[in-house]
Protein backbone atom coordinates (compact mmCIF):
# COMPACT_ATOMS: atom_id res chain seq x y z
CA UNK A 1 0.00 0.00 0.00
CA UNK A 2 1.33 3.40 -1.01
CA UNK A 3 0.57 5.96 1.66
CA UNK A 4 1.09 9.66 0.97
CA UNK A 5 1.37 12.06 3.87
CA UNK A 6 1.19 15.81 3.32
CA UNK A 7 3.13 17.73 5.93
CA UNK A 8 3.15 21.49 6.43
CA UNK A 9 5.80 23.43 8.25
CA UNK A 10 4.37 25.90 10.77
CA UNK A 11 5.60 28.12 13.62
CA UNK A 12 5.98 26.22 16.90
CA UNK A 13 2.88 26.62 19.09
CA UNK A 14 4.93 28.35 21.78
CA UNK A 15 5.61 31.19 19.33
CA UNK A 16 4.41 34.63 20.33
CA UNK A 17 2.93 36.14 17.17
CA UNK A 18 4.07 39.65 16.29
CA UNK A 19 3.39 41.87 13.33
CA UNK A 20 5.95 43.68 11.24
CA UNK A 21 5.00 46.02 8.39
CA UNK A 22 1.44 44.76 8.51
CA UNK A 23 2.32 41.08 8.19
CA UNK A 24 3.07 38.26 10.62
CA UNK A 25 6.73 38.52 11.57
CA UNK A 26 8.34 35.15 10.96
CA UNK A 27 11.95 36.30 11.36
CA UNK A 28 12.46 34.69 14.77
CA UNK A 29 10.02 31.82 14.38
CA UNK A 30 11.04 28.27 15.21
CA UNK A 31 9.57 26.17 12.38
CA UNK A 32 8.24 22.71 13.13
CA UNK A 33 6.18 20.03 11.42
CA UNK A 34 2.51 20.87 11.93
CA UNK A 35 1.40 19.01 15.10
CA UNK A 36 -1.68 17.49 13.42
CA UNK A 37 0.51 16.25 10.55
CA UNK A 38 2.61 14.38 13.10
CA UNK A 39 -0.42 12.22 13.88
CA UNK A 40 -0.81 11.62 10.13
CA UNK A 41 2.83 10.53 9.80
CA UNK A 42 2.55 8.22 12.79
CA UNK A 43 -0.64 6.64 11.50
CA UNK A 44 0.92 6.03 8.09
CA UNK A 45 3.91 4.30 9.70
CA UNK A 46 1.63 2.15 11.85
CA UNK A 47 -0.50 1.08 8.89
CA UNK A 48 2.62 0.09 6.95
CA UNK A 49 4.03 -1.79 9.96
CA UNK A 50 0.77 -3.63 10.51
CA UNK A 51 0.50 -4.65 6.87
CA UNK A 52 4.16 -5.63 6.79
CA UNK A 53 4.54 -3.99 3.40
CA UNK A 54 4.03 -0.70 1.63
CA UNK A 55 5.67 2.67 1.31
CA UNK A 56 5.19 5.94 3.18
CA UNK A 57 5.99 9.06 1.15
CA UNK A 58 6.02 12.46 2.79
CA UNK A 59 5.35 15.52 0.67
CA UNK A 60 5.76 19.11 1.81
CA UNK A 61 5.01 22.27 -0.11
CA UNK A 62 6.81 25.54 0.46
CA UNK A 63 10.20 27.25 0.48
CA UNK A 64 13.49 25.40 1.04
CA UNK A 65 13.10 25.42 4.83
CA UNK A 66 10.28 22.84 4.59
CA UNK A 67 12.98 20.25 3.83
CA UNK A 68 13.53 20.18 7.60
CA UNK A 69 9.95 18.98 8.12
CA UNK A 70 10.50 16.30 5.47
CA UNK A 71 13.76 15.19 7.12
CA UNK A 72 11.96 15.01 10.44
CA UNK A 73 9.35 12.67 8.93
CA UNK A 74 12.10 10.58 7.32
CA UNK A 75 13.86 10.29 10.69
CA UNK A 76 10.65 8.84 12.13
CA UNK A 77 10.62 6.15 9.47
CA UNK A 78 9.00 7.51 6.31
CA UNK A 79 10.50 5.86 3.22
CA UNK A 80 10.66 8.80 0.86
CA UNK A 81 10.26 12.57 0.92
CA UNK A 82 9.40 15.02 -1.82
CA UNK A 83 9.76 18.78 -1.69
CA UNK A 84 7.25 20.63 -3.85
CA UNK A 85 8.61 24.08 -4.50
CA UNK A 86 6.04 26.77 -3.94
CA UNK A 87 7.69 29.64 -5.80
CA UNK A 88 5.08 32.17 -6.89
CA UNK A 89 2.27 30.11 -5.37
CA UNK A 90 -0.45 31.69 -3.21
CA UNK A 91 0.52 29.67 -0.14
CA UNK A 92 -2.21 31.25 2.00
CA UNK A 93 -4.95 30.16 -0.42
CA UNK A 94 -6.18 26.66 0.49
CA UNK A 95 -7.67 26.13 -2.97
CA UNK A 96 -4.35 26.94 -4.69
CA UNK A 97 -2.44 24.76 -2.24
CA UNK A 98 -4.84 21.84 -2.69
CA UNK A 99 -4.61 22.21 -6.48
CA UNK A 100 -0.83 21.75 -6.31
CA UNK A 101 -1.08 18.94 -3.74
CA UNK A 102 -3.56 17.11 -5.97
CA UNK A 103 -1.13 17.29 -8.88
CA UNK A 104 1.69 16.06 -6.62
CA UNK A 105 -0.49 13.17 -5.41
CA UNK A 106 -1.18 12.09 -8.98
CA UNK A 107 2.51 12.19 -9.83
CA UNK A 108 3.51 10.25 -6.70
CA UNK A 109 0.69 7.67 -6.84
CA UNK A 110 -1.20 6.54 -3.74
CA UNK A 111 -3.69 4.16 -2.16
CA UNK A 112 -4.31 6.34 0.87
CA UNK A 113 -3.61 10.00 1.70
CA UNK A 114 -3.16 11.25 5.25
CA UNK A 115 -2.67 14.80 6.52
CA UNK A 116 -3.47 16.88 9.59
CA UNK A 117 -6.96 18.25 10.13
CA UNK A 118 -5.59 21.79 10.05
CA UNK A 119 -2.38 23.78 10.00
CA UNK A 120 -1.91 25.55 13.31
CA UNK A 121 -0.84 28.72 11.50
CA UNK A 122 -3.72 30.01 9.36
CA UNK A 123 -6.16 27.48 10.85
CA UNK A 124 -8.09 27.14 7.58
CA UNK A 125 -8.85 23.40 8.05
CA UNK A 126 -9.45 23.10 4.32
CA UNK A 127 -6.60 21.78 2.17
CA UNK A 128 -7.02 18.07 2.96
CA UNK A 129 -10.73 18.11 2.21
CA UNK A 130 -10.42 20.21 -0.95
CA UNK A 131 -7.68 17.84 -2.07
CA UNK A 132 -10.12 14.93 -1.76
CA UNK A 133 -12.68 16.78 -3.86
CA UNK A 134 -10.15 17.69 -6.55
CA UNK A 135 -8.99 14.06 -6.74
CA UNK A 136 -12.60 12.83 -6.67
CA UNK A 137 -11.95 10.76 -3.54
CA UNK A 138 -13.99 10.23 -0.40
CA UNK A 139 -12.59 11.79 2.75
CA UNK A 140 -13.06 11.52 6.48
CA UNK A 141 -12.00 14.56 8.51
CA UNK A 142 -10.98 15.05 12.15
CA UNK A 143 -10.23 11.36 12.57
CA UNK A 144 -9.39 9.91 16.01
CA UNK A 145 -9.42 6.22 15.07
CA UNK A 146 -8.61 4.52 11.77
CA UNK A 147 -8.67 0.99 10.39
CA UNK A 148 -7.92 0.16 6.77
CA UNK A 149 -8.18 -3.16 5.03
CA UNK A 150 -5.83 -3.31 2.06
CA UNK A 151 -7.39 -6.44 0.58
CA UNK A 152 -10.99 -5.27 0.48
CA UNK A 153 -10.04 -1.61 -0.04
CA UNK A 154 -12.38 -0.58 2.75
CA UNK A 155 -11.80 1.52 5.83
CA UNK A 156 -13.47 2.46 9.09
CA UNK A 157 -12.86 5.69 10.97
CA UNK A 158 -14.13 7.57 13.97
CA UNK A 159 -14.36 11.30 13.55
CA UNK A 160 -14.74 13.69 16.46
CA UNK A 161 -17.94 15.74 16.42
CA UNK A 162 -19.83 17.74 19.04
CA UNK A 163 -20.66 15.43 21.94
CA UNK A 164 -19.04 12.25 20.63
CA UNK A 165 -17.58 10.37 17.69
CA UNK A 166 -19.19 9.53 14.37
CA UNK A 167 -18.40 6.11 12.94
CA UNK A 168 -17.69 6.32 9.24
CA UNK A 169 -17.16 3.59 6.66
CA UNK A 170 -15.38 4.47 3.45
CA UNK A 171 -13.78 2.97 0.40
CA UNK A 172 -10.12 3.32 -0.61
CA UNK A 173 -8.44 5.31 -1.96
CA UNK A 174 -9.43 8.10 0.40
CA UNK A 175 -8.14 11.17 2.20
CA UNK A 176 -8.02 11.12 5.99
CA UNK A 177 -7.39 14.24 8.09
CA UNK A 178 -5.93 13.50 11.52
CA UNK A 179 -7.07 14.86 14.88
CA UNK A 180 -5.14 14.70 18.12
CA UNK A 181 -5.95 11.40 19.83
CA UNK A 182 -5.51 9.31 16.67
CA UNK A 183 -2.26 7.95 18.09
CA UNK A 184 0.79 8.80 20.16
CA UNK A 185 3.54 9.90 17.75
CA UNK A 186 6.92 8.24 18.20
CA UNK A 187 10.24 9.95 18.65
CA UNK A 188 13.00 9.74 16.07
CA UNK A 189 15.55 7.03 16.71
CA UNK A 190 19.27 7.59 16.32
CA UNK A 191 19.22 5.07 13.49
CA UNK A 192 16.41 7.01 11.85
CA UNK A 193 18.29 10.28 12.16
CA UNK A 194 21.42 8.72 10.65
CA UNK A 195 19.40 7.19 7.80
CA UNK A 196 18.11 10.63 6.74
CA UNK A 197 21.60 11.69 5.73
CA UNK A 198 21.62 9.11 2.94
CA UNK A 199 18.22 10.05 1.55
CA UNK A 200 17.83 12.29 -1.46
CA UNK A 201 14.80 14.56 -1.37
CA UNK A 202 13.66 15.26 -4.93
CA UNK A 203 12.31 18.71 -5.77
CA UNK A 204 9.22 19.06 -7.90
CA UNK A 205 8.32 22.37 -9.49
CA UNK A 206 4.89 23.48 -10.67
CA UNK A 207 6.10 22.76 -14.21
CA UNK A 208 7.02 19.19 -13.19
CA UNK A 209 3.47 18.80 -11.92
CA UNK A 210 1.87 20.32 -14.99
CA UNK A 211 0.28 23.12 -12.97
CA UNK A 212 -0.09 26.48 -14.71
CA UNK A 213 1.63 28.93 -12.33
CA UNK A 214 -0.83 31.70 -13.21
CA UNK A 215 -3.76 29.57 -11.99
CA UNK A 216 -2.33 29.29 -8.49
CA UNK A 217 -0.61 32.68 -8.21
CA UNK A 218 -1.35 35.37 -5.65
CA UNK A 219 -3.34 37.37 -8.20
CA UNK A 220 -5.61 34.38 -8.90
CA UNK A 221 -6.07 33.45 -5.21
CA UNK A 222 -9.65 32.54 -4.28
CA UNK A 223 -9.10 34.14 -0.90
CA UNK A 224 -6.38 36.41 0.47
CA UNK A 225 -5.42 38.21 3.64
CA UNK A 226 -5.79 41.97 3.32
CA UNK A 227 -4.92 42.92 6.89
CA UNK A 228 -3.53 41.43 10.08
CA UNK A 229 -4.08 42.59 13.63
CA UNK A 230 -3.36 41.48 17.16
CA UNK A 231 -6.03 40.98 19.81
CA UNK A 232 -6.36 43.89 22.21
CA UNK A 233 -4.38 43.18 25.37
CA UNK A 234 -6.55 42.03 28.26
CA UNK A 235 -6.42 44.13 31.38
CA UNK A 236 -5.37 42.31 34.53
CA UNK A 237 -8.37 42.07 36.81
CA UNK A 238 -9.10 41.64 40.48
CA UNK A 239 -6.86 39.01 42.07
CA UNK A 240 -7.76 37.95 45.60
CA UNK A 241 -5.14 36.73 48.04
CA UNK A 242 -5.55 35.37 51.56
CA UNK A 243 -7.51 32.71 53.39
CA UNK A 244 -9.79 30.77 50.98
CA UNK A 245 -12.55 31.08 53.61
CA UNK A 246 -12.55 34.81 52.76
CA UNK A 247 -11.50 34.87 49.13
CA UNK A 248 -13.92 32.19 47.88
CA UNK A 249 -17.17 33.81 49.17
CA UNK A 250 -15.88 37.15 47.88
CA UNK A 251 -15.24 35.71 44.39
CA UNK A 252 -18.68 34.10 44.31
CA UNK A 253 -20.25 37.39 45.43
CA UNK A 254 -18.45 39.27 42.64
CA UNK A 255 -19.34 36.78 39.91
CA UNK A 256 -22.92 36.28 41.06
CA UNK A 257 -23.99 39.69 42.38
CA UNK A 258 -21.62 42.24 40.91
CA UNK A 259 -20.56 41.01 37.46
CA UNK A 260 -23.72 38.86 37.31
CA UNK A 261 -22.05 36.38 34.96
CA UNK A 262 -23.10 33.36 37.00
Amino acid sequence: MNILVFVKQVPDTETRIQLQNGAVDTSSVKWVANPYDEFAIEEALRIKEKLGQGKVTVVSLGPDRVKEAIKYALSLGADEGVHVKGDGLALADPLAVATVLAAAAKKAGFDLILTGKQGVDHDWSQAGIILAELLDLPHVSVVVHLEVDAASKQGKAKREVEGGDELVEFSLPAVITAQKGLNEPRYASLKGIMAVKKKVIPEWTLADLGVDPASVSESAASIRFVEFSLPPPRQAGKILEGDPKDTVPELVRILHREAKVL
Partner: protein, 326 residues
Protein backbone atom coordinates in the same frame (compact mmCIF):
# COMPACT_ATOMS: atom_id res chain seq x y z
CA UNK B 1 -30.11 41.50 -5.99
CA UNK B 2 -27.36 40.01 -3.87
CA UNK B 3 -28.41 36.87 -2.07
CA UNK B 4 -26.87 35.88 1.25
CA UNK B 5 -27.30 32.15 1.64
CA UNK B 6 -27.19 30.17 4.87
CA UNK B 7 -26.71 26.40 4.80
CA UNK B 8 -28.91 25.26 7.68
CA UNK B 9 -27.55 22.73 10.10
CA UNK B 10 -30.45 20.49 10.98
CA UNK B 11 -30.89 17.94 13.69
CA UNK B 12 -33.97 15.76 13.21
CA UNK B 13 -35.32 18.39 10.82
CA UNK B 14 -34.89 21.26 13.28
CA UNK B 15 -32.32 24.01 12.80
CA UNK B 16 -29.57 24.11 15.40
CA UNK B 17 -28.68 27.37 17.14
CA UNK B 18 -25.78 28.09 14.78
CA UNK B 19 -28.29 28.34 11.93
CA UNK B 20 -30.26 31.19 13.50
CA UNK B 21 -27.01 32.86 14.52
CA UNK B 22 -25.90 32.80 10.86
CA UNK B 23 -29.33 34.05 9.78
CA UNK B 24 -28.96 37.11 12.01
CA UNK B 25 -25.71 38.11 10.31
CA UNK B 26 -26.99 37.27 6.81
CA UNK B 27 -30.06 39.44 7.51
CA UNK B 28 -27.90 42.35 8.65
CA UNK B 29 -25.72 42.14 5.53
CA UNK B 30 -28.72 41.75 3.22
CA UNK B 31 -30.51 44.75 4.75
CA UNK B 32 -27.34 46.85 4.45
CA UNK B 33 -26.98 46.05 0.76
CA UNK B 34 -30.56 45.69 -0.46
CA UNK B 35 -30.18 41.93 -0.78
CA UNK B 36 -32.18 38.96 0.39
CA UNK B 37 -31.58 35.93 2.59
CA UNK B 38 -31.99 32.34 1.43
CA UNK B 39 -31.71 29.27 3.61
CA UNK B 40 -30.42 26.08 2.03
CA UNK B 41 -32.12 23.19 3.87
CA UNK B 42 -30.89 19.70 3.06
CA UNK B 43 -33.13 16.74 3.88
CA UNK B 44 -36.39 16.58 5.82
CA UNK B 45 -37.66 19.70 7.62
CA UNK B 46 -39.74 19.34 10.77
CA UNK B 47 -43.27 20.73 10.75
CA UNK B 48 -43.26 24.50 11.29
CA UNK B 49 -39.50 24.73 10.75
CA UNK B 50 -39.77 26.76 7.52
CA UNK B 51 -41.91 29.29 9.40
CA UNK B 52 -39.42 29.41 12.24
CA UNK B 53 -36.53 30.03 9.83
CA UNK B 54 -38.58 32.81 8.22
CA UNK B 55 -39.24 34.39 11.62
CA UNK B 56 -35.48 34.44 12.20
CA UNK B 57 -34.72 36.33 8.99
CA UNK B 58 -35.06 34.07 5.93
CA UNK B 59 -36.79 35.40 2.78
CA UNK B 60 -36.56 32.14 0.87
CA UNK B 61 -36.01 28.51 1.72
CA UNK B 62 -34.25 26.38 -0.85
CA UNK B 63 -35.31 22.93 0.23
CA UNK B 64 -33.28 20.13 -1.33
CA UNK B 65 -34.93 16.78 -0.80
CA UNK B 66 -33.87 13.26 -1.60
CA UNK B 67 -33.29 9.89 0.03
CA UNK B 68 -29.52 10.38 0.02
CA UNK B 69 -29.92 13.35 2.43
CA UNK B 70 -31.56 11.33 5.21
CA UNK B 71 -28.34 11.39 7.27
CA UNK B 72 -25.19 13.45 6.86
CA UNK B 73 -22.61 12.42 4.30
CA UNK B 74 -20.17 14.94 2.89
CA UNK B 75 -20.58 13.82 -0.69
CA UNK B 76 -24.41 13.90 -0.73
CA UNK B 77 -24.59 17.19 1.13
CA UNK B 78 -22.01 18.79 -1.15
CA UNK B 79 -24.09 17.72 -4.15
CA UNK B 80 -27.20 19.14 -2.46
CA UNK B 81 -25.53 22.47 -1.80
CA UNK B 82 -24.30 22.55 -5.38
CA UNK B 83 -27.86 22.00 -6.66
CA UNK B 84 -29.13 24.87 -4.52
CA UNK B 85 -26.29 27.16 -5.65
CA UNK B 86 -26.99 26.41 -9.31
CA UNK B 87 -30.65 27.23 -8.79
CA UNK B 88 -30.38 30.45 -6.80
CA UNK B 89 -26.85 31.75 -7.55
CA UNK B 90 -26.16 33.26 -4.14
CA UNK B 91 -23.34 35.81 -3.82
CA UNK B 92 -22.38 34.58 -0.39
CA UNK B 93 -22.96 31.28 1.37
CA UNK B 94 -22.53 30.72 5.09
CA UNK B 95 -21.94 27.41 6.86
CA UNK B 96 -21.54 26.81 10.59
CA UNK B 97 -17.96 26.39 11.77
CA UNK B 98 -19.16 23.16 13.35
CA UNK B 99 -18.05 19.57 12.79
CA UNK B 100 -20.50 19.34 9.93
CA UNK B 101 -19.93 22.76 8.36
CA UNK B 102 -16.16 22.48 8.58
CA UNK B 103 -16.37 19.09 6.84
CA UNK B 104 -18.80 20.22 4.15
CA UNK B 105 -17.72 23.75 3.20
CA UNK B 106 -14.21 22.85 1.91
CA UNK B 107 -15.74 20.11 -0.24
CA UNK B 108 -18.07 22.73 -1.78
CA UNK B 109 -15.12 25.11 -2.19
CA UNK B 110 -13.21 22.49 -4.17
CA UNK B 111 -16.23 21.55 -6.24
CA UNK B 112 -17.22 25.11 -7.21
CA UNK B 113 -13.62 26.40 -7.16
CA UNK B 114 -14.55 29.35 -5.00
CA UNK B 115 -12.82 30.79 -1.94
CA UNK B 116 -13.73 29.81 1.61
CA UNK B 117 -13.02 31.87 4.70
CA UNK B 118 -13.12 29.57 7.73
CA UNK B 119 -14.10 30.32 11.30
CA UNK B 120 -15.20 33.90 10.69
CA UNK B 121 -16.12 36.10 13.64
CA UNK B 122 -17.11 39.35 11.86
CA UNK B 123 -18.06 40.63 8.41
CA UNK B 124 -17.72 44.08 6.95
CA UNK B 125 -19.47 45.37 3.85
CA UNK B 126 -17.86 48.46 2.39
CA UNK B 127 -18.76 49.82 -1.06
CA UNK B 128 -20.21 46.43 -1.92
CA UNK B 129 -16.98 44.65 -1.00
CA UNK B 130 -17.28 42.00 1.68
CA UNK B 131 -14.41 41.17 4.00
CA UNK B 132 -14.32 38.78 6.94
CA UNK B 133 -12.36 38.79 10.14
CA UNK B 134 -11.07 35.50 11.43
CA UNK B 135 -8.67 34.37 14.14
CA UNK B 136 -5.38 32.83 13.04
CA UNK B 137 -2.80 31.02 15.16
CA UNK B 138 -5.77 29.97 17.34
CA UNK B 139 -6.49 33.60 18.21
CA UNK B 140 -2.97 34.90 18.76
CA UNK B 141 -3.70 37.19 15.79
CA UNK B 142 -6.54 38.09 13.45
CA UNK B 143 -6.65 38.29 9.69
CA UNK B 144 -9.08 40.17 7.49
CA UNK B 145 -9.71 38.27 4.29
CA UNK B 146 -11.23 39.12 0.91
CA UNK B 147 -12.50 36.87 -1.87
CA UNK B 148 -11.70 37.00 -5.57
CA UNK B 149 -14.60 37.78 -7.98
CA UNK B 150 -15.76 34.13 -8.21
CA UNK B 151 -19.18 33.53 -6.60
CA UNK B 152 -20.48 32.44 -4.21
CA UNK B 153 -18.10 33.62 -1.53
CA UNK B 154 -18.05 30.85 1.08
CA UNK B 155 -17.56 31.31 4.81
CA UNK B 156 -17.91 29.23 7.93
CA UNK B 157 -19.08 31.13 10.99
CA UNK B 158 -17.92 30.37 14.48
CA UNK B 159 -20.72 29.37 16.88
CA UNK B 160 -21.61 31.76 19.73
CA UNK B 161 -20.48 34.76 17.64
CA UNK B 162 -23.73 36.34 16.44
CA UNK B 163 -26.91 36.83 18.47
CA UNK B 164 -30.08 35.39 16.89
CA UNK B 165 -32.77 37.91 15.95
CA UNK B 166 -35.92 38.17 18.00
CA UNK B 167 -38.34 35.95 16.03
CA UNK B 168 -40.75 38.00 13.92
CA UNK B 169 -43.69 35.74 13.08
CA UNK B 170 -44.97 38.33 10.62
CA UNK B 171 -42.08 37.49 8.31
CA UNK B 172 -42.85 34.84 5.68
CA UNK B 173 -40.55 32.85 3.43
CA UNK B 174 -41.29 31.17 0.12
CA UNK B 175 -40.22 27.53 0.01
CA UNK B 176 -38.68 26.33 -3.26
CA UNK B 177 -38.29 22.61 -3.63
CA UNK B 178 -35.11 21.50 -5.38
CA UNK B 179 -34.64 17.90 -6.50
CA UNK B 180 -31.56 16.12 -5.25
CA UNK B 181 -29.26 14.89 -8.02
CA UNK B 182 -28.01 11.30 -8.07
CA UNK B 183 -24.87 10.96 -6.03
CA UNK B 184 -22.17 8.40 -5.32
CA UNK B 185 -21.48 8.21 -1.57
CA UNK B 186 -18.20 6.50 -0.73
CA UNK B 187 -17.90 7.60 2.91
CA UNK B 188 -20.97 7.25 5.07
CA UNK B 189 -21.76 7.73 8.73
CA UNK B 190 -22.93 4.41 10.16
CA UNK B 191 -23.10 5.19 13.86
CA UNK B 192 -22.46 7.56 16.72
CA UNK B 193 -20.69 7.05 20.03
CA UNK B 194 -21.74 9.53 22.65
CA UNK B 195 -18.94 10.80 24.86
CA UNK B 196 -19.14 10.50 28.62
CA UNK B 197 -21.49 12.75 30.56
CA UNK B 198 -24.20 15.12 29.51
CA UNK B 199 -21.98 18.14 29.07
CA UNK B 200 -22.26 20.52 26.15
CA UNK B 201 -19.36 20.48 23.73
CA UNK B 202 -16.54 22.88 24.62
CA UNK B 203 -17.14 24.94 21.49
CA UNK B 204 -20.80 25.44 22.42
CA UNK B 205 -20.40 25.84 26.18
CA UNK B 206 -21.29 29.02 28.04
CA UNK B 207 -19.26 28.06 31.08
CA UNK B 208 -16.03 26.07 31.04
CA UNK B 209 -14.04 24.74 34.00
CA UNK B 210 -10.54 23.69 32.92
CA UNK B 211 -7.81 21.93 34.87
CA UNK B 212 -4.09 21.90 34.26
CA UNK B 213 -0.85 20.36 35.42
CA UNK B 214 -1.67 21.05 39.07
CA UNK B 215 -4.48 18.47 38.92
CA UNK B 216 -1.65 15.91 39.40
CA UNK B 217 -3.66 12.94 38.14
CA UNK B 218 -6.93 11.76 36.58
CA UNK B 219 -8.65 11.18 39.94
CA UNK B 220 -8.47 14.84 40.93
CA UNK B 221 -10.56 15.94 37.95
CA UNK B 222 -13.48 14.68 40.06
CA UNK B 223 -13.15 17.92 42.05
CA UNK B 224 -13.68 19.91 38.85
CA UNK B 225 -16.55 17.68 37.69
CA UNK B 226 -18.41 18.55 40.88
CA UNK B 227 -17.97 22.27 40.17
CA UNK B 228 -19.10 21.66 36.57
CA UNK B 229 -22.24 19.92 37.83
CA UNK B 230 -23.16 22.87 40.05
CA UNK B 231 -22.49 25.46 37.34
CA UNK B 232 -23.78 23.44 34.37
CA UNK B 233 -20.31 23.86 32.94
CA UNK B 234 -18.25 21.82 30.50
CA UNK B 235 -14.96 20.31 31.61
CA UNK B 236 -11.81 21.46 29.84
CA UNK B 237 -8.11 20.78 30.28
CA UNK B 238 -4.70 22.12 29.37
CA UNK B 239 -2.32 20.32 27.04
CA UNK B 240 -0.16 19.33 30.02
CA UNK B 241 -3.06 17.43 31.58
CA UNK B 242 -4.02 15.78 28.28
CA UNK B 243 -0.47 14.81 27.34
CA UNK B 244 -0.03 13.29 30.81
CA UNK B 245 -2.94 11.02 29.96
CA UNK B 246 -5.19 12.27 32.79
CA UNK B 247 -8.08 13.22 30.53
CA UNK B 248 -9.16 12.64 26.94
CA UNK B 249 -7.87 15.02 24.26
CA UNK B 250 -11.44 16.03 23.36
CA UNK B 251 -11.31 18.19 26.51
CA UNK B 252 -8.16 20.06 25.47
CA UNK B 253 -8.36 23.84 25.15
CA UNK B 254 -5.59 25.62 23.27
CA UNK B 255 -3.73 25.76 19.99
CA UNK B 256 -3.76 21.99 19.42
CA UNK B 257 -7.14 21.60 21.07
CA UNK B 258 -10.37 23.55 21.02
CA UNK B 259 -10.58 27.29 20.61
CA UNK B 260 -13.36 28.41 22.93
CA UNK B 261 -15.27 31.61 23.68
CA UNK B 262 -17.55 31.00 26.65
CA UNK B 263 -19.08 33.64 28.89
CA UNK B 264 -17.02 32.41 31.83
CA UNK B 265 -13.80 30.40 31.72
CA UNK B 266 -12.32 28.95 34.90
CA UNK B 267 -8.59 28.18 34.58
CA UNK B 268 -7.74 25.98 37.53
CA UNK B 269 -4.17 25.00 38.21
CA UNK B 270 -3.24 26.24 34.74
CA UNK B 271 -0.16 28.44 34.57
CA UNK B 272 -1.04 29.96 31.20
CA UNK B 273 1.30 28.74 28.44
CA UNK B 274 1.01 30.76 25.24
CA UNK B 275 -0.62 27.90 23.33
CA UNK B 276 -3.30 27.59 26.04
CA UNK B 277 -3.99 31.32 26.23
CA UNK B 278 -4.44 31.33 22.46
CA UNK B 279 -7.39 28.98 22.78
CA UNK B 280 -9.30 30.74 25.54
CA UNK B 281 -8.34 34.40 25.76
CA UNK B 282 -11.45 35.55 23.88
CA UNK B 283 -13.63 34.26 26.76
CA UNK B 284 -15.71 37.10 28.15
CA UNK B 285 -14.76 36.55 31.80
CA UNK B 286 -11.70 34.59 32.86
CA UNK B 287 -11.38 33.31 36.42
CA UNK B 288 -7.98 31.93 37.46
CA UNK B 289 -7.18 29.83 40.49
CA UNK B 290 -3.50 29.15 41.02
CA UNK B 291 -1.06 28.72 43.86
CA UNK B 292 1.58 30.82 42.13
CA UNK B 293 0.68 34.48 42.20
CA UNK B 294 3.18 35.16 39.39
CA UNK B 295 1.54 32.64 37.01
CA UNK B 296 1.01 34.25 33.57
CA UNK B 297 -2.69 33.32 33.70
CA UNK B 298 -3.27 36.10 36.27
CA UNK B 299 -2.13 38.69 33.71
CA UNK B 300 -5.20 38.01 31.58
CA UNK B 301 -7.66 36.92 34.28
CA UNK B 302 -10.69 39.10 34.99
CA UNK B 303 -10.77 37.66 38.50
CA UNK B 304 -8.55 35.32 40.39
CA UNK B 305 -7.77 33.60 43.63
CA UNK B 306 -4.22 32.91 44.69
CA UNK B 307 -4.47 29.66 46.59
CA UNK B 308 -4.33 25.89 46.66
CA UNK B 309 -6.97 24.54 44.29
CA UNK B 310 -7.59 21.56 46.58
CA UNK B 311 -8.84 23.98 49.23
CA UNK B 312 -10.34 26.61 46.95
CA UNK B 313 -12.34 24.52 44.47
CA UNK B 314 -14.42 22.46 46.96
CA UNK B 315 -15.25 25.69 48.84
CA UNK B 316 -16.11 27.37 45.57
CA UNK B 317 -18.42 24.50 44.61
CA UNK B 318 -20.18 24.79 47.96
CA UNK B 319 -20.51 28.59 47.77
CA UNK B 320 -21.92 28.44 44.25
CA UNK B 321 -24.33 25.71 45.28
CA UNK B 322 -25.67 28.05 47.96
CA UNK B 323 -25.64 31.19 45.82
CA UNK B 324 -27.36 29.58 42.84
CA UNK B 325 -30.04 28.01 45.02
CA UNK B 326 -31.18 31.41 46.25
Amino acid sequence: MATFGVVAELKDGTARKITVEMLAEARRLADASGGDVAVVALGPLAAGEAERLASHGADRILHVEGDSLAGYSTEAYAAGVQAAVERSKPDTLFFGATSQGKDLAPRVSGRLRVGLASDCTAFELKDGELTARRPIFAGKAFGRVAWNPARPRLATIRPNTFTPLEPNTGRKAAVESIPMPAVKVRARVVGFEKSEGEMLDLTEANIIVSGGRAMQGPENFEILRKLCAVLGATLGASRAAVDAGWIDHSHQVGQTGKVVNPTVYFAIGISGAIQHLAGMSSSRTIVAINKDKDAPIFKIASYGIVGDLYQVVPLLTEEFRKALKE
